[in-house]
């Protein structure tokens, strides 16, 4: 097989300690096996871990951060704006990645690199500038403590260029909050596992990129034919317009109706005021325009403005479902203007909305249950729906003030200080649960439990399918379904495209094989490509096993196994522990891992 397009065959390696950059060539066998994006990141992190003797402090200068778009990023095809950030996570101590939309990854590819590797630590707070072949590290001490947007402004001033694409961290990233994000294009985030803190630990406030190169496409005519067909397919979908109007905010009503909407820190799964914070409320009163990531016709981004009341003037891109649910119903709050304010605050400070909502929810429940005292929260009283209290706590987390210093350490730091919080704080492997309750769908519980980065929904979002179609499924089918999701989803991250056309509008998988073939000139079947992503999942598992993960870490959040759903359509549901042991055994067996969850692969 010879690769005729899709790659520049080079990685930019930046040593921030020495201020040196190197171009590292990659070969055909590497790109054929790992494809790009998350695949490249996983391989590079595994290599690095092997070289470091299996040990690496995520927040030490020895950790590396890989930024990798894929061979389809920036190419003329639907939703090609994705870019992966891959590293060892300070939240979980194991493998972590996050993919970001927008236009940043496209610009990075146009600068002529298949990936960028950051290592070391700059002597002072800096910005990395990449303008095609010119790479520089500029001191940016004036950006200390400023918001992500302000950082962007300062970078534009320092570089004198208004048109660079900039990714920045906020105060939270500088302060090592283990669930801090990297933010670009105003409100696109690489979230969840603390990429912001890793960047902060390297004294890097921002990365500014300008690229001018043609993206290598082998057969442009074939690409245009398939892409036009693809764009037409999406446009003709019955929900296309509705998706443009509401995007992921349409999920609020769905989750509430199905009984999977996190409410009051995952205690309940329906929220009686969900109709105050759904997509229609957003459309009618707050939405001022649509936004889209690069190349995407689905424009799921919603720009919202608060026109009146005490949050007047708040403008943000968002929320999407996860943020609305975690900062809204999960905290017993339904005021949409407040949700926008909290979302905007999280983006400014650079913290993940999911983990923030999950942690604050557990604090409120902890107080309610008497596990925590008011003194634990610096004398602050905080209750369900307490907007002021929640916003204050978000600020304290980012600034590591008072109790915020503990909360900034994520699930592990909280459980170390208050071990009794284990039944209250929903997490897997130290990563807080995202906004889908799993008690009514054991496949979702397995998805959370076996996710390589912790309790995150994007690894295997099986809950809707199981609830809608899974009545007759046996455990074996459910385990297979989770593996199917965990296999196809990484492929999107490896190619550098978004999964939403596929999962939300049923965009057929075969298209991606056709796009890949037009761009790279390599004829491969979809099964062959999926074999690559399956290998990458084994590889990230091997990284985790090297770092001490085994079967004991593959269980869903405690509440999923212990507390039956109290009300609503999923009332009484709880995942049975024996059933879970059975499905976990089946899962390992089907993956070819041993009964302790160890693959036969070595690093």
């Amino acid at each position: 097989m010879s690769v005729k397009g899709g790659y520049f065959f080079r990685i930019l390696d930046v040593d921030l300690t020495r201020g040196e950059t190197t171009i590292v060539p990659i070969d055909e066998s590497f790109v054929l096996k790992y494809i790009g994006g998350r695949g490249f990141g996983a391989r590079l992190v595994a290599d690095h871990l092997k070289k470091s003797g299996g040990k690496c402090d995520p927040l030490g200068p020895e950790n590396i951060l890989v930024i990798a778009p894929g061979p389809l990023t920036g190419v003329y095809l639907p939703a090609s704006g994705k870019n992966s950030f891959v590293t060892l996570s300070p939240a979980t101590g194991i493998y972590g990645d996050s993919s970001m939309g927008g236009v940043f990854g496209v610009e990075l590819r146009q600068a002529g690199y298949d990936a960028v590797v950051l290592r070391g630590r700059a002597p002072e707070l800096s910005v990395l500038t990449i303008e095609d072949d010119r790479v520089g590290i500029l001191p940016l001490p004036q950006a200390a403590g400023v918001s992500t947007l302000e950082a962007e402004k300062l970078v534009r001033e320092a570089t004198g260029d208004e048109d660079m694409k900039i990714a920045s961290i906020g105060m939270a990233g500088e302060n090592g909050v283990v669930f801090s994000c990297v933010n670009a294009d105003w409100s696109r985030n690489a979230g969840r596992i603390g990429i912001g803190a890793v960047m902060g630990s390297k004294n890097l406030k921002s990365i500014a990129v300008r690229g001018s190169k043609d993206l290598p496409v082998y057969d442009l005519d074939a690409l245009v034919r398939v892409s036009r067909e693809g764009y037409d397919y999406l446009k003709s979908h019955e929900f296309f317009r509705f998706w443009q109007e509401q995007g992921l905010m349409s999920v609020v009503d769905y989750a509430n109706a199905m009984g999977i909407l996190p409410t009051h820190n995952f205690k309940e799964t329906v929220f009686d005021r969900a109709d105050k914070m759904n997509g229609y409320v957003m459309e009618d009163r707050y939405k001022i325009s649509d936004t889209a990531c690069f190349g995407c016709s689905m424009s799921c981004g919603n720009v919202c403005l608060v026109r009146e009341g005490k949050y007047r003037g708040t403008v943000t891109e968002g929320p999407e479902y996860e943020s609305a649910a975690m900062l809204g119903s999960n905290l017993g709050a339904s005021n949409f203007a407040y949700i926008l304010k909290a979302n905007a605050l999280c983006d400014d400070l650079g913290v993940d909305t999911i983990s923030t909502g999950s942690i604050i929810g557990s604090m409120i429940e902890g107080l309610e249950k008497g596990i925590l005292t008011q003194e634990d929260l610096d004398g602050d009283e905080i209750t369900w729906g307490d907007e002021e209290g929640i916003l204050r706590l978000i600020g304290k987390i980012a600034g590591r003030e008072g109790v915020g210093d503990t909360l900034a350490g994520g699930a592990f730091a909280i459980l170390k200080r208050w071990p009794d919080m284990e039944g209250v704080l929903s997490h897997v492997k130290g990563l807080e649960q995202s906004a889908y309750d799993a008690r009514a769908a054991i496949s979702m519980a397995l998805g959370y439990g076996t996710s390589d980065i912790g309790a995150h929904h994007t690894r295997a979002w099986t809950v809707a399918s199981e609830l809608e179609n899974g009545a007759g499924w046996g455990l074996e089918e459910k385990a297979e379904f989770v593996i199917y999701h965990q296999t196809i989803r990484p492929l999107f991250d490896m190619l550098g495209v978004c999964r939403l056309p596929w999962i939300e509008l049923g965009f057929p998988e075969e298209y991606y094989q056709r796009f890949y073939q037009a761009v790279t000139g390599v004829e491969r079947s979809m099964d062959d490509l999926l074999e690559c992503s399956r290998h990458v999942y084994d590889l990230t598992r091997t990284i985790n096993v090297t770092l001490g993960i085994d079967r004991k870490d593959d269980y869903p959040p405690r509440r999923t196994l212990v507390d039956p759903v109290p009300s609503g359509p999923t009332k009484g549901n709880v995942v049975d522990r024996d059933e879970y042991e059975k499905i976990l055994d089946l899962y390992y067996e089907k993956r070819g891992w041993d009964s302790d969850g160890k693959p036969s692969l070595s690093l």
Binding site: Y76, G211, S212, D284, S289, F294, S297, M298
Partner: protein
């Protein structure tokens, strides 16, 4: 015919840039397109496709030392034989609607793709329209009329009597044109 931009509808996806660079330059490179989406945030939030308006009096030609810019059949053209790549037109155009790329010697400029603009065809948000000229301004005329209708009450005379008609308060839906 006129290429009209409706910035309120633009999502910033840049599919227009892709369609233009792929179709006209034969490369996948939005930096070589003849239309560019400028994005400003956070307040005000603007996504504005910038493209040649084919002006009746093309200001881009001001100062062109070789008179390489001329207008023909309603389209402002660049005479590639005459052009000396001095780039004066880039700063003369009041809209910044001409573009440079280091791989290409002469400025990039929209010529409406032989009457079938690829960007218009590709735009998923209908933010780009290719209209006959008499359509121009209709959106504003319609908006003005509809705004009047959004007033909650209108007083009028009927058979010598003063009457008041109450309208349902319109919710902030966007004008369709």
């Amino acid at each position: 015919m006129h290429l009209t931009v409706i910035p309120e509808r633009c999502s910033g996806c840049k599919v227009c840039e892709l369609a233009c660079s792929v179709g006209r330059q034969g490369v996948n490179n939005p930096k070589k397109s003849r239309i560019r989406v400028m994005v400003l945030y956070p307040h005000p939030v603007i996504r504005m496709p910038i493209v040649c308006k084919q002006c009746g009096v093309p200001k881009c030609g001001d100062g062109c030392p070789t008179s390489a810019i001329y207008r023909e059949n309603g389209i402002v053209q660049l005479d590639r034989e005459k052009c000396i790549s001095c780039n004066q037109c880039l700063t003369s155009c009041p809209f910044g609607a001409m573009f440079l790329h280091e791989d290409i010697e002469q400025p990039l400029k929209c010529d409406l793709c032989d009457g079938k603009p690829l960007c218009v065809e590709a735009c998923p948000k209908e933010a780009l329209k290719f209209h006959p000229k008499h359509i121009l301004g209709q959106a504003h005329r319609l908006a003005a009329a509809r705004n009047y209708a959004k007033m909650s009450k209108v007083e009028y005379m009927d058979g010598g009597q003063r009457k008041v008609l109450h309208y349902t308060k319109a919710r902030g839906k966007k004008d369709e044109r």
